[in-house]
Amino acid sequence: MSDSLGEGKLAVTSSPEGPSAAGDGARQASSPARRVGRSGWGQRLEIALLAGPAIVMFVTFVMLPVLLAAYYGFFKWKGFGPPTNFVGLQNYVTIFKDSTFRDALAHNGVIVVLSLLLQGPAAVLLALLLNQKMRGRSVVRVLIFVPYVVSEVIVGTGWSLMLQTNGAVNALLVKAGLPHWTVDWLSDPKVAIWSLMLIITWKYIGFAVILFLAGLQSIPQELFEAAAIDGASYWQTQRRITLPLLGPTIRIWAFLSMIGALQLFDLVYIIWGQYVAATAGTSTMATYMVVNGRNAANYGFGNAVAVVLFVISLILALTYQRFVLNRDTEGALTEGKK
């Protein structure tokens, strides 16, 4: 989840009046600039001057690499000189025949699903609980956000020390009188994926809670008053009013969570390293890509894995936007197509 969430894709929202592109275009048509009679060329120059650098940077470092990957992925290439050994779809065949990759893909699937199941309900409950008048509410909000701000490297280093067989977690279990609960958290393949989920949940649940708390505050208070007058119980109110109205926020969070889980790299690579992840059952497509592409100096192959990762993420993103987000919201991708 290298930069996925960490990069601060924070404030995703469903906004009632959001930047409606089409409507705004109409408004802009009568904007003062038009009325003061600016020459078309002058305006074009301003646009180029202001937006040009950002577009150039974005296309060069974000778009171009993805296109390059599609090209390099057809070659067997060690990364030096121009790629010449064209192998067609051979890299892709190798990827899908490789059981290590299929394992990694399966781990990604497990991580996507478990992230939703572990964090979602817990975060909704915690947000409901914290959305009450209480002392120190703002302190709580800050402190539960701390794991999200701490870097993956620090989280990985800290947790891998704590989860060693002779580490703090097992020691605490012994102290708590639960010595038979101590396990080999990191290398036992039956346990390791759950340890990873524990760390992921710890690191990212604060983000979900903060997001849901913000969503809860946008629900009009009148609805709760009306429900109370109608004699609805607390749980009825939550189920009939709060949850449906929190729906858009939950769906956006789920989207971010899934994309992040598909791209998960840092935590696994830091805690399990390049060799252990596969045997411990925590490898992901991204760690597979780095290990078999860059570390093995098979850049053609690495780029093909990047393309697979890209296509899987894109399919998931578009499917989700089409079938889940489109009813109550419009996706960022479809924004411009209205």
Binding site: S4, G8, S14, P19, I47, L68, A69, L143, T157, A168
Partner: protein, 290 residues
């Protein structure tokens, strides 16, 4: 509509605060436990740095019997640590500056000009949101190597700016759009060009949004691991996350010192976060309120 919006310029302080239910003792217990779970591991790292190795081996989950500062002072005395700090600072500062300058300019165009292809441009940046750096890292590394920027902090800064642009633009566009038209008209009547309006009015008015995106960019840069892992191979150019990992590998037997090094490396991000926590969490809340 899925958009990432910033808090509207008009402060929402006048909005009636919802009258919330009173918290019972259960709430306090759960909140306390939650906070404990969230900051426990962080405290473990910080406190572990004050212990000795033999103490950590004997009782991994205990408190220091005497608080040792030697681990921290050793790290603070080492030149490697400070070189990594300065590399991280350089990356963070220039990434933030680049993101803010390019992001504000592009957002201004998207928010206040109408031109053919504007929607396509918005969609282009919005699409970037869905693809974190992981997908692009392998070809990106080849591109950076082709530009001769490996082992060079510029090779970190430039891609980081590019990858932070989508979030920045999507947060800033609604912000800039919310600046009243009357202000622009008044500026036009007073003879200001649109660029003059941009420099004199838009930049000062968008400071709150700029601070938010700037902090997000800085923290992301400070914590970034994958890109430096690919681009920086020479230890002299390491940023802190790589440094922490290298240090943990090199001194794997000296757990206490690793913990001290790790705690010191998270201070700046935590300080930044706690200084601007209201703005980050508030911005998030405002965003979802819509």
């Amino acid at each position: 509509m899925v958009t990432i919006t910033a808090p509207p310029l008009s402060p929402t302080t006048t909005r009636k605060r919802p009258s919330l239910g009173r918290a019972s003792w259960v709430t306090y217990v759960v909140a306390f436990a939650l906070v404990g779970i969230c900051i426990g591991p962080v405290l473990y790292i910080v406190i572990g740095g004050f212990r000795t190795n033999s103490e950590i081996t004997r009782d991994p989950s205990g408190f220091p019997s005497t608080w040792q500062v030697v681990n921290y002072s050793e790290v603070l005395k080492s030149s490697i640590f400070w070189r990594q700090v300065s590399n991280s600072v350089i990356c963070g500062v220039f990434t933030t500056l680049g993101v803010v300058v390019l992001g504000v300019a592009a957002s201004f165009v998207l928010a206040r000009y109408s031109f053919w292809g504007r929607n396509a441009m918005y969609a282009l940046f919005a699409a970037g949101l869905m693809f974190p750096m992981t997908v692009a890292i392998t070809p990106l590394y080849i591109l950076i190597r082709g530009l001769g920027l490996t082992d060079n902090l510029a090779g970190i800064i430039l891609p980081q700016i590019a990858f932070a642009l989508p979030t920045t633009i999507i947060i800033l566009v609604p912000f800039l759009r919310a600046i009243p038209k009357e202000l622009e008209e008044a500026a036009a009547i007073d003879g200001a060009s649109r660029l003059g309006f941009f420099v004199r009015m838009v930049i000062p008015l968008s400071i709150p949004g700029v601070v938010t995106v700037g902090i997000l960019a800085f923290i992301a840069s400070w914590n970034s691991y994958l890109l430096p892992l690919f681009i920086l191979n020479n230890e002299g150019s390491y940023t802190l996350p790589l440094g922490v990992q290298a240090f943990a590998a090199q001194y794997s037997v000296d757990t206490a010192r690793v913990l001290a090094f790790t705690s010191l490396s998270m201070i700046p991000a935590l300080v930044f976060f706690s200084l601007f926590e209201r703005r980050i969490i508030g911005g998030l809340s405002g965003a979802v309120k819509g």
